[in-house]
């Protein structure tokens, strides 16, 4: 690593020039990249671009119905955001589970997405928000649906001259309900064995749009299409939650690996989805009583 040349641009335009000329490895918070280099997973890069000084890539804003999260926003900043607590509470639940205080102070949402792990905790919440990623290069800008971005573990459709600059999603309304649940070996510093996120639009007790996303049970985060189809038009009840949970188990293709086993993961997908739906049902019943 001592031979590595490090670029530390202060502006986005400067960073895009370097990306175009040198095709460097991008370093945001460093909490994945530096671990992978140390572990030998990636050879020491010739060029690294450390983007953590680019202020334009930080912060959370709402413009009309669009919420925009800068790619360099740390998980600690997400946890402190009142805007996201209102419009993406399940992203806060996911951020709460990530790493440790030290990791959350450095780790960024953009880095979590770019690391492209099927177990990345911020990804299922963004799936159910139908978020878009904004990629920029000196040639221009493009928006990609998060569900189209990852192609396998560690793999994305980003070109090497592009930088992920932000994440955008449409804010929900009073009818939107969310959950995120995950299982890990312990509370801190454990990568998810399995995770699930959900978003339901519920009006007068009836479910309109429903989105369920599953983590760590396929080569990328996936939608549980069968479960989503079952939810549409229904009312939440313990019976429906169980039916949908069973369907979600058939929407995933987990494997055995160092963290867990396929059979356990498949069973737990059902448990997490059922718990998530039951929590929403109880929240709604609680609201009704007030």
């Amino acid at each position: 690593m001592t031979q590595t040349v490090i670029f530390t641009p202060k502006s986005l335009s400067e960073a895009l020039e370097v990306l175009n000329d040198k095709k460097p490895v991008v370093l945001a918070g460093g909490t994945d990249l530096l671990v992978q280099i140390k572990g030998g997973g990636i050879p020491p890069p010739r060029y690294i671009i450390a983007i953590d000084n680019i202020k334009a890539l930080k912060g959370i804003k709402k413009n009309g119905r669009k919420v925009r999260i800068g790619a360099l926003t740390t998980f600690e900043e997400i946890l402190d955001s009142e805007l996201l607590a209102k419009f993406a509470p399940h992203l806060l639940e996911a951020s709460y589970e990530i790493g440790s205080p030290q990791i959350r102070a450095r780790g960024t949402i953009g880095g979590n997405i770019m690391n492209a792990s099927p177990a990345g905790d911020s990804i299922p919440p963004l799936f159910v928000l139908e978020a878009h990623l904004i990629l920029q290069s000196i040639e221009g800008r493009r928006k990609v649906a998060i569900s189209q971005f990852h192609t396998g573990p560690g793999k994305t459709i980003r070109r090497r001259d592009e930088l992920l600059i932000g994440i955008e999603f449409e804010a929900g309304d009073k009818s939107s309900r969310y959950f995120f649940m995950r299982l890990g070996t312990r509370k801190a510093l454990a990568i998810a064995k399995v995770s699930a996120a959900g978003m339901l639009n519920i009006k007068n007790g009836h479910i309109g749009k429903a989105r369920i996303a599953l983590g760590a049970v396929a080569p990328t985060v996936v939608y549980a299409h069968g479960a989503q189809d079952l939810l549409a038009g229904k009312s939440l009840s313990p019976e429906v939650a169980l039916l949908v949970a069973n369907a979600a188990q058939n929407d995933c293709h987990p494997i055995d690996d160092i963290r867990s086993q396929a059979e356990y993961r498949q069973a737990m997908v059902g448990v997490l989805v059922e718990r998530g739906l039951m929590r929403i049902m109880n929240e709604l019943n609680g609201d009704g009583q007030r």
Partner: protein, 156 residues
């Protein structure tokens, strides 16, 4: 490459190799060996330092990323021979056995108390969840942090 930053209050100009890690800069170039390397991959917290007031793993930061930032290591916490209240509380509660993890735990606690002077039990547990101790255990550490927060409150 040349970098300028603040280390324990002092302004530093340094010329460093590109890919150097922050922990190596501290231990090898500045002889600040209170910052320990346990796992080297962000899981044990023994290398915790405060970067712009926040606890970070110095094994997961490049020295190049220090540009324009302010850093505090365990050596910068005391004022000469006068210990910081958090350090004093760790001594009084005997929250130390071998001491390897203590600098990281103390700095993690310090940053918690700076943000939340009167933390809940859950906040204390979360604040030290990135710091592993393999001999004393956590109950005395927990007690020390509570003591430090009470000292802080009584001194106001």
């Amino acid at each position: 490459m040349k970098i300028k930053f603040r280390l324990n209050g002092r302004l530093i100009n340094a010329d460093i190799p590109g890919g150097m890690r922050l922990i190596d800069l501290l231990r090898e170039d500045f002889n600040l060996t209170g910052t320990r390397e346990g796992c080297g991959k962000g899981e044990c917290g023994a290398c915790t330092v405060l970067l712009d007031g926040k606890p970070v793993n110095s094994c997961l930061v490049l020295a190049a990323q220090l540009k324009g930032r302010a850093m505090v290591t365990i050596e910068g916490l005391s004022d000469g021979d006068t210990l910081d209240p958090v350090q004093r509380a760790f001594l009084e509660a005997t929250a130390v056995q071998c001491g390897f993890c203590s600098p990281g735990l103390i700095l993690a606690a310090k940053s918690l108390l700076d943000k939340y002077p009167d933390p809940s039990e859950e906040q204390i547990k979360r604040a030290i969840s990135g710091n592993l101790c393999r001999c004393t255990g956590y109950s005395k550490v927990f007690k020390a942090i509570k003591m430090a927060s009470e000292t802080h409150r009584n001194s106001k």
